[in-house]
Amino acid sequence: MLSKWLKPATHNQQSRFAPKTLALLAIFAASYALPSHALNVFVCEPEWGALVRAHAPHANIYAATTSRQDPHYVQARPSLISQMRRADLAVCSGAELEIGWLPMLQARSNNAKVQDGQSGMFYASEYVAMLDTHDHVDRSMGDIHAHGNPHVQFAVKDMPRISTALTARLVDIDPDNARQYQANGIRFRGHWHRQITQWEEVAEPLQGLNVVGYHGTYRYLFDWLGIAQVGDLEPKPGLSPTNAHIHSLAQLGADAVDLIVYSSHQDSRPASWLQQRIDKPVLELPLTVEGDQSLTEMIDIVIGDLLKQTGKQTHLPVQ
């Protein structure tokens, strides 16, 4: 493409091009002249990177956040805009989890493919039976999401539905590799169904466990495993723990709580403040996958850690 620009140019014409213009043209040409490229996938959270990798192993996947970052509070920074600009597909949790930054990335990226309603914008929560949806939301209730709890990376039972929808989306965007996506999707779901059976078996001792959490991060996981979140270190969703609130949690009494849980991206101090009062074990659970872990490994770790910490580990989770 660049040669097409340069060839007919005589010496005279060429000298009229400022070197800057030429450099710009070169950038344009280099980026547009690439042969049919691997799919560029932008994921808001690493767990969706793991899911996409299971379906489209050859895709270039860029994760906007890490397991140390709170996905509610992300900067719409320049590097994210440039990655969004090049994305063929963006995969996010949705349900307003990323409302503070994703709309800015969509608008600033000038990328038609990843706007809402386009096939290149995929929200996992649209395929989940949402918990805690509200007909009426009011900010006095805290930073809650009308569409329900958006932390759907632990909606284990719905993961096959997400996989089916993601497969269809990949096929839609990149029909040339349809067979591969479909085969990988079937493999993923088959494997996942087998895992569910094992996980449910292994995690049985966790049923009836009473947990104080930090935000509704594990709402879906707890619901699935029969764990009750009897208290939240946050006084209201999104609000920081206060001394008064922790004091009121301590009033629940040591008998009412088995375990205090928080996530890898959260401040560990509120959990230990409560621990000082009710003397119950504290457990840091992963928010998402770490490095190139798979979703299966993520769930293995969460269940394994819960079993270990509560001393209810009858047999090790099958790896």
């Binding site: 980026s31 709170d70 320049p78 600033r108 009011d138």
Partner: protein, 388 residues
């Protein structure tokens, strides 16, 4: 008349359905409330001494169809017993052009500099820096068109051009209809997971910005800013000083431990503005001829916890005064300086109460002021995502 329009607006904003079933089909409506008490008045500020309302904003935006998005931002400003309803932004923009292109038309905040195209309620301080208030009228919005492209590179590169009416930044009586052309180039990236940067270059050509002759105009030389030709309220949105060419360079650096912005983070930003040809070059041999005027600010804001943040900012702006002796202007260059300290408490992501101390030095009046401001900025309804 005006009042009824306003109440209509507020009512329709409040009547928005509480349960938004789909964010796509409904317009996002948000209201920003801003009120304050302050012990003095800063130069070129919209905020007067005492109790007052600041930038009360109603914003509505939505996708129009699969090709266009529209946004409307109105600002209610009260001045004594009357209120102004200003349209700050009313634009449509494309959402489906290929190759990273975007075209915008209508009224919008210019992309000049890094602070200008952010809404005032996103600021960490009660006022824009004195550099902005002098050269851009706090925040510069105008009617026109813009085109921008984001290049498909790892390094963030955005190039933009704008053609604007320029009526708000006009220094002459009979301005041309397309007075302003601007161009911006913005670059950015990550240094590590913990920190990110953005660097921008801006240029603005203002065909109506240069004062060619002082003799033809009947200036009120006692006025604070004799070379301001917009409407001459104290709360004018026009720039205090304009020129033919305005250059800008901006830099923003943000840091948070592990890149997690929830608990702690630091933002350092700086902008430098240069104004060329504020007056005709015929006067270039006059004493203190304002051929080149500079302004800058440097600010740092540190979030200590989800609830508390502190910040400091220093800003300077060169300006000039002119007195006529017959047909000969006598120029006097002046520098305004402001140093700010602020402490803000966030009740949540949507409510901020801010205390700010400003030490302002004004050369023209040979004055030094200490101003304290206590302000709230709170929002309800939809709360748009913030830019970097």
């Amino acid at each position: 008349m005006k009042k009824s329009v306003i109440s209509l607006f507020v009512c329709s904003a409040l009547a928005a359905p509480a349960a938004f079933s789909s964010p796509i089909s409904n317009p996002e409506i948000g209201v920003v409330l801003d009120g304050y008490y302050q012990s003095g008045e800063r130069q070129l500020s919209e905020r007067e001494e005492g109790f007052g309302l600041g930038h009360t904003e109603i914003n509505m935006s939505a996708n129009i169809d699969d090709k266009f998005r529209g946004s409307l931002t109105t600002v209610l400003e009260s001045h004594g017993d009357h209120a102004d309803l200003l349209i700050e932004e009313a634009f449509i923009e494309t959402t489906s052009l290929p190759h990273g292109l975007n075209i915008k038309g209508g009224r919008f905040l210019s992309s000049f500099g890094s602070l200008n195209n952010q809404h005032l309620h996103e600021d960490a301080f009660a006022e824009r820096p004195v550099a902005y208030r002098n050269y851009l009228g706090g925040h510069f919005y105008d009617d026109g068109v813009s085109a921008s492209v984001v290049l498909p590179t790892d390094l963030y590169i955005r190039l933009g051009v704008e053609a604007l009416s320029g009526q708000q930044m006009s220094a002459i009586d009979d301005p041309s209809t397309v007075g302003i052309y601007s161009a911006t180039a913005t670059f950015g990236g990550d240094i590590s997971t913990a920190s990110s940067w953005q660097l921008g270059f801006s240029y603005l050509r203002n065909d109506n910005g240069r004062v060619d002759s002082f003799g033809d105009h009947d200036h009120d030389h006692d006025h604070d800013h004799p070379h301001r030709f917009g409407h001459d309220h104290d709360h004018s949105h026009s720039a205090s000083v304009t020129g033919k060419h305005l250059y800008g360079m901006d830099f923003v650096w943000k840091w948070a431990p592990n890149g997690n912005y929830k608990y702690q983070n630091l933002t350092v930003s700086a902008e430098w503005l240069r104004l060329n040809d504020a007056t005709s070059r015929d006067y270039k041999f006059e004493h203190d001829y304002p051929g080149t005027l500079d302004a800058f600010y440097l600010s740092g804001v540190y979030r200590l916890s989800p609830s508390w943040s502190v910040g400091a900012r220093y800003s300077e702006a060169e300006d000039f005064d002119v007195k006529m002796y017959g047909h000969y202007p006598y120029f006097k260059r002046e520098t305004e300086r402001e140093f700010d300290l602020m402490l803000a408490w966030n009740s949540s992501h949507f409510g901020t109460i801010r205390g700010q101390y400003t030490r302002a030095e004004n050369q023209r009046h040979d004055r030094e002021d200490n101003i304290f401001t206590l302000q709230y900025v709170m929002s309800f309804g939809a709360h748009g995502a913030h830019a970097f």
